[in-house]
Symmetry: C2
Subunit: 211 residues, 2 copies
Amino acid sequence: MTEQKIPRATAKRLPIYYRYLNILLDADKTRVSSTELSEAVKVDSATIRRDFSYFGALGKRGYGYDVESLIKFFRKILNQDRLTNVALIGVGNLGHALLNFNFHQDGNVRISAAFDVNDKIANTIQSGVPIYPMTELRTQLEEQQIQVAILTVPSEVAQQVTDEAVAGGVKGILNFTPLRVTVPKDVRVQNVDLTNELQTLIYFLEHYNKD
Amino acid sequence: MTEQKIPRATAKRLPIYYRYLNILLDADKTRVSSTELSEAVKVDSATIRRDFSYFGALGKRGYGYDVESLIKFFRKILNQDRLTNVALIGVGNLGHALLNFNFHQDGNVRISAAFDVNDKIANTIQSGVPIYPMTELRTQLEEQQIQVAILTVPSEVAQQVTDEAVAGGVKGILNFTPLRVTVPKDVRVQNVDLTNELQTLIYFLEHYNKD
DNA sequence: AGAAATTGCAAATATTTTTCACTATTTCTT
DNA sequence: AAGAAATAGTGAAAAATATTTGCAATTTCT
């Protein structure tokens, strides 16, 4: 599966390109040049061409890129053409918001199971998603073959829950917990630490006057 | 104010160090070495020393670092010793969750005003935070001298709201919108794009078998 | 007093990312 | 159809960023 090493920086820009391409499509644009794209997404045009080139020759010299086929291509790359089922572990404040959050705006990610220790909500359906008790975490993940989990539990239990999720076959974790969880190296964790983000933001504000 | 250029990578690790130091403090540890810290936060000890050294000589050779004074120092650096008032713009799903979110776990960030277009919630108080109508965005920001905003509005209006916020004096924006907003260069934007994060995560899962 | 521990830091490396500069194509214009 | 204009693709250079090494200086420990 591993084709070739795409730089992390590039991978992070892909969704941004993808999103803008869809805007172009909606506006009935059929072609776009790297220069044009550059202005919209605020990335140097050479960088864009370089990014695209990791995937082969997607454009036409002297012409630009065909919006539709580019979208089609990225859709595959970004797994937009396939539904990815995701588990939400921890249905507190944030978890609840994520249940309603429009992850599937492009129709590719769906929270198909949620878990919580709270008896009050376990075994109910919230926003169309079944909530299982935490005790069933592992078995449900296995059964439903879910490989991606969003972790929004209190940090005290984060590691333990993570272990359980990994045991259930999870390979990717979007971790909203401030805790840096430990996982086997074939599991990827993407940390989203809101407090951290805010602090970093404030830090930069205080310590740099521009940038 | 701008003291010296701290690498971005370092700045991002600071909150992590800070958090762990507090754990040590809670455990009544009075000193810690870079090696010890290293294991806990999973960062090479040399990197930690390097990171710390940007701020001067914080430790004692042959001894290590004094937990308490290190915390005290970082608290200043990270503005934990001062309350930063933050505005929440857009009280939808996610916004609502953030209102309840424990940003102030260390008591330094407080959402002190929220804004929404919805008449039903404007001019009410939610989770202890006053919600103002969006029309008052600029004036309230000015009046309350809020410099940091969390943006959780629909992306269609993101740019427009951002402009308004900037006009109101905001210097830092935590942007939950998928839109890359344009701001003057003295304003810093930190993007938190959840859909993007998930997509990137899934992308890596599919395309790399480890990392 | 001597051994052990440990920071601080300059310099060396390594890694990653961006940009330049140019060629090859294709499209557009007249 | 010829020439001009536009534009992708890309090797190589440069720049930016981050990590690691190696060791002197210092402090603590026994």
